[in-house]
């Protein structure tokens, strides 16, 4: 019986650990690879979003800006009246303030930052 519990625990841990993949995608589905897209560059942007979590950003996040990249990119594109964005650079880490917050709470409650940079193009 004890052995069975250990084996089941092992299986649960494997499942939990194997699902720890950090994804970046958009809710509207408009995030893709279109190397042929052409247009006039109209500006560049750099936007940040904060993510709060409990224990780990991968396990118990309060917000998931990494899964709503459109909400970061679209407002920046609208500012320039652009049609699409190229040269996206997505960054992820702890700013100094994020680090202090996460340290003080012993890592139980944490905050980190997502940065998105890119160039806006207009194709008309």
């Amino acid at each position: 019986m004890k052995k069975l519990i250990l084996v089941l625990s092992l299986a649960v841990v494997v499942l939990l650990m194997s699902s720890c993949t950090y994804f970046f995608y958009s809710q509207d589905g408009n995030l893709g690879y279109y190397p042929g897209a052409t247009g006039i560059p109209v500006g560049s942007f750099s936007a940040t979003r904060e993510q709060w979590y409990v224990l780990s950003p991968l396990w118990f996040p309060f917000t998931e800006p990494n899964k709503r990249l459109d909400e970061v990119i679209v407002p920046e594109m609208v500012k320039y009246s652009g049609s699409f964005v190229k040269d996206l650079k997505i960054g992820y880490g702890y700013t100094f303030i994020d680090y202090l917050i996460t340290y003080v709470t012993g890592g139980l409650l944490g905050r980190n930052t997502l940065t998105v940079e890119g160039q806006v193009f207009r194709n008309f």
Binding site: C20, K89, G91, G106
Partner: protein, 179 residues
């Protein structure tokens, strides 16, 4: 010939399963690939419990005797990489305040995808100056990951009187993200 199911066999079997769990945990630790700008300046914070005369424990000394609680900040300027400065304040036997200064020398270190400490072995020379005492110490500490910014650092060392030290620390540090 069938193996006898002794209590020792059961203990060893559990240890094997736990070993497998640990290996799998390490294999599946999240890997994230992305482009980001990180500062070249390393910053860190740690809270450390140090038992100065560890061998005294075996001679029946109270656990709080020669125990100190230290709060330290670490800073690693880019030109000193991989060496880092440490400084802070300590409370010897939880009452006597002292100032601490030293260095953190990574012998081996692995950073995670957030550019924070994940694994490591560190050599820590330190000097401690208080109103009624001073001490020199050299410790070797091993970092075990606990969260995304650091973990539990366990170490042994010696002080100026050649007494054995034991240290247990919540130690964190990273190269911060530059917005």
């Amino acid at each position: 010939m069938a193996m006898r199911r002794t209590p020792l066999y059961g203990f060893m079997a559990k240890r094997k399963v736990l070993g497998c769990v640990l290996v799998l945990f390490l294999c599946f630790l999240p890997k994230i690939g992305f482009a980001a700008r990180y500062s070249d300046h390393y910053i860190g914070l740690s809270t450390t419990l140090i038992k100065t005369d560890t061998l005294g424990l075996f001679q029946g000394e109270p656990i709080l005797q020669d125990l100190s609680l230290d709060f330290e900040a670490t800073y690693g300027p880019p030109f000193m990489k991989p060496f880092r400065f440490r400084a802070g304040v300590g409370f010897y036997e939880f009452t006597k305040i002292c100032l601490i200064a030293g260095m953190e020398i990574p012998i081996f270190e692995e950073l995670n995808d957030y550019q924070a400490k994940r694994w490591g072995v560190y050599l820590i020379p330190e000097v401690e100056i208080g109103f009624s005492r001073w001490d020199l110490a050299l410790r070797c500490e091993v970092l075990i990951p606990l969260n995304a910014i650091g973990g539990l650092q366990i170490g042994f060392g010696i002080n100026k009187n050649l007494h054995l030290l034991f240290s247990l620390s919540y130690s964190t540090g990273l190269y911060p993200l530059v917005k």
